[in-house]
C-alpha cells in the first residue's frame, strides 16, 4: 500500500480517456465467460496506472475489473463513472479502502442488470427502432440521406449519452445515482418511453408486417369469395396483427427462442405457400 503520498487528482481528461476507451472497445472483446469484462478493465487502465504507482496495487486493481460485467454501453457508463470515483477513494489508502474495494464489486454487479434493462428499452428498442422505421420509406424512394441518417443520429445520440453518463456517474457518485434509480422520476420516464415505444411498434408493425392470403373460395352457386377482402372488411391488416400478437405471446410464454421461431416461420410460410393459403 502506498503511504503518505499526495493524493492523485482525477481530471476531466482522465474521465474522457476512460470514455473513449470504453466506447471504442466495449464489445470488441465480448465473450461468453465474462462478457464486457475485458473492455471494462481496458477502459480503466491509464487511470489505474495514474492512481497506483505501486505495481502490486495496480495488479490488484486490474484483477478487480476483470470480473464479469455486462451492461448497456451508454447507460452502464454511470457505473464506469462511479467506479472511477471509488477507485480514486481506494487509491488514497484510507482505512476504509478495503471496504470500498468490496463496494466496487457489489455496485458493478448490482447496477449492471437494471441499467442494461433501461438501455435496451430506451435506446435499442425504442429510439433505434423508431429512427430506422422513420427513415426506411424515404430510402426506398431513393434518399441517400435517409439511409445514412440512422447512423448519424443514433451514433451521435449514443456517443453523447455515454460520455454524459460517465461524467455524471463520477460527479454525482454512487449515492445519488442509486437514489435517482430508485426515485419515481426515472421510473416515470421509462414508463413514458415504453408507452411511446409500444404505440410506435404498433404503427411500424402495421407498415412493415405484410401477411395476406390469395385464397378464393367458390361457393356452390358459383360466386367467388375473396377471403382477403372479407378480412379487410372485418379489420384491415388483421392477419399481420394476429401474427405479431401470436409471436409476442409465444415468446412471453416460452422465452426468447428466436432461432426456433424464425425457422418455424420459414417452414410454415413454405407449407402455406405450397397449399396456396398465403
Amino acid at each position: 500500500m502506498s503511504e503518505n503520498k499526495a493524493p492523485v487528482v482525477v481530471t476531466k481528461k482522465d474521465i474522457d480517456t476512460v470514455f473513449i476507451r470504453w466506447f471504442t472497445f466495449a464489445e470488441v472483446g465480448l465473450n461468453f465467460e465474462r462478457m464486457q469484462a475485458l473492455a471494462f478493465c481496458n477502459s480503466m487502465l491509464p487511470l489505474l496506472q495514474k492512481l497506483y504507482p505501486d505495481i502490486e496495487d495496480l495488479s490488484a486493481a486490474m484483477q478487480r475489473h476483470l470480473t464479469m460485467f455486462n451492461s448497456s454501453v451508454a447507460w452502464g457508463g454511470l457505473i464506469n463513472g462511479i467506479t472511477i470515483a471509488l477507485e480514486e477513494e481506494i487509491s488514497k489508502g484510507n482505512e476504509d479502502a478495503e471496504q470500498t474495494k468490496t463496494l466496487v464489486q457489489s455496485l458493478k454487479t448490482g447496477l449492471m442488470g437494471p441499467l442494461a434493462g433501461i438501455g435496451d428499452t430506451i435506446d435499442m428498442a425504442t429510439v433505434r427502432t423508431i429512427i430506422v422505421g422513420l427513415c426506411v420509406p424515404f430510402a426506398i424512394e431513393g434518399s441517400v440521406i435517409a439511409a445514412l441518417m440512422p447512423l448519424l443520429v443514433f451514433g451521435a445520440y449514443l456517443f453523447i449519452n455515454t460520455r454524459n453518463f460517465i461524467h455524471l456517474g463520477y460527479k454525482r457518485g454512487r449515492d445519488s445515482i442509486v437514489a435517482v434509480l430508485k426515485s419515481g422520476t426515472i421510473h416515470k420516464l421509462i414508463n413514458s418511453a415504453s408507452m411511446f415505444g409500444l404505440m410506435m411498434m404498433g404503427a411500424l408493425s402495421a407498415s412493415y408486417v405484410k401477411v395476406s392470403t390469395p385464397l378464393v373460395i367458390t361457393s356452390e352457386a358459383g360466386t367467388k369469395i375473396v377471403v382477403q377482402e372479407m378480412i379487410n372488411k372485418l379489420a384491415p391488416s388483421l392477419l399481420s396483427f394476429a401474427v405479431v400478437i401470436a409471436i409476442y405471446f409465444y415468446i412471453a410464454k416460452k422465452g426468447p427462442k428466436f432461432i426456433r421461431i424464425l425457422v418455424v416461420i420459414i417452414i410454415l410460410s413454405m407449407i402455406f405457400s405450397y397449399f396456396g393459403i398465403l
Partner: protein, 250 residues
C-alpha cells in the same frame, strides 16, 4: 465478382460486425446504412437503396436482449445485397437469400464470443503481473485479429463463387418455394417487433400497440404522424401526472 470488390466487401463485413466504436454505433451493419456504400461500389444507387431498405424491414425491430441476437444483419447486408446487385435480382428475391444468411451469422457471432474467452484468460495472467500493455492487447488487437479470418473468409468466398451459384439455385427453386420465402419475408418483421415489445415490457401497455397499429391500418396515417400524436399524448400524461409524485417508486 472481381477479387477487389469481393475483398473490399469482406473487409467491410469484418469491420461492421467488429463492434469497434460500440458496434460502429450498433447500426453500421444495417442493410439500410450499408446501402449507399453498396450503391457506390456497384455504381447503382437507386437499386441499392431499394434492396437495402427492403432488407432493413425484416430486421427493423431486431434487437439483442441480453446480447442474444436473433439475426446477423451484417452478413445479410454484405452477402445478399452485393449478390442481388451483381445479378440484378429483385429486392424480394434478395430477402430470400438474406434470411438464411442472417441465421448463419448468429453462429459466427457465437463462435466469436467463444474464441474471445481465450483472451480473458490471457488477460488474467497479465493482470497478475501488472502488465498493462498485455491486458490492453487482449481487449483490443487480439479479438479484432482473431475475428478477421472468421468474418473475412466466408464473405470473400461467398462473393467470389456466390452470384452464379445463387442464381442457379434461385432458378431451380419451384414457384411455391420462392413465394414461400417472400411470404416469410413479410412475416419476419413481426418477430422483430414481438421481441421489441417483450423488451419494452409492461403487458398493461399492449392496448397502445393496438392503437398504433390500427391508426395506421384503418386511417392510413404515416408512422411520422403517429410519432407526433404519440409524443404529444404521452407528454400530456407525463406532465399531468407529475403532481402525484412518489407513487411510482421502483
Amino acid at each position: 465478382m472481381n477479387l477487389f470488390l469481393a475483398a473490399s466487401i469482406a473487409l467491410l463485413y469484418w469491420f461492421s460486425v467488429s463492434r469497434l466504436l460500440y458496434n460502429a454505433f450498433s447500426i453500421f451493419r444495417y442493410p439500410l446504412v450499408m446501402a449507399p456504400i453498396m450503391g457506390l461500389l456497384f455504381n447503382n444507387m437507386s437499386d441499392a437503396l431499394v434492396i437495402g431498405a427492403t432488407l432493413q424491414m425484416i430486421y427493423i425491430g431486431s434487437i439483442a436482449p441480453g446480447g442474444n441476437p436473433p439475426a446477423d444483419e451484417g452478413l445479410a447486408s454484405c452477402v445478399a445485397m452485393p449478390i442481388a446487385l451483381a445479378t440484378g435480382m429483385t429486392a424480394e428475391i434478395a430477402i430470400t437469400i438474406a434470411i438464411p444468411l442472417g441465421v448463419l451469422g448468429v453462429g459466427f457471432e457465437n463462435l466469436r464470443k467463444t474464441m474471445n474467452t481465450t483472451f480473458i484468460h490471457m488477460a488474467d495472467k497479465y493482470a497478475l503481473e501488472g502488465n498493462v500493455k498485455g491486458v490492453q492487447r487482449c481487449a483490443t488487437i487480439y479479438p479484432l485479429l482473431a475475428a478477421f479470418p472468421l468474418r473475412f473468409i466466408p464473405v470473400f468466398v461467398a462473393l467470389l463463387l456466390g452470384p452464379s451459384a445463387v442464381e442457379g439455385f434461385i432458378n431451380s427453386l419451384p414457384t411455391w418455394a420462392l413465394n414461400g420465402l417472400s411470404v416469410a419475408g413479410g412475416i419476419l418483421p413481426a418477430l422483430g417487433f414481438a421481441i421489441t415489445i417483450i423488451v419494452i415490457g409492461k403487458k398493461e401497455y399492449l392496448p397502445l400497440f393496438v392503437i398504433g397499429f390500427f391508426a395506421v391500418a384503418y386511417l392510413g396515417l404515416s408512422t411520422i404522424a403517429i410519432a407526433i400524436f404519440g409524443v404529444s399524448a404521452i407528454a400530456f400524461t407525463y406532465m399531468t401526472s407529475t403532481s402525484k409524485k412518489g407513487e411510482n417508486s421502483l
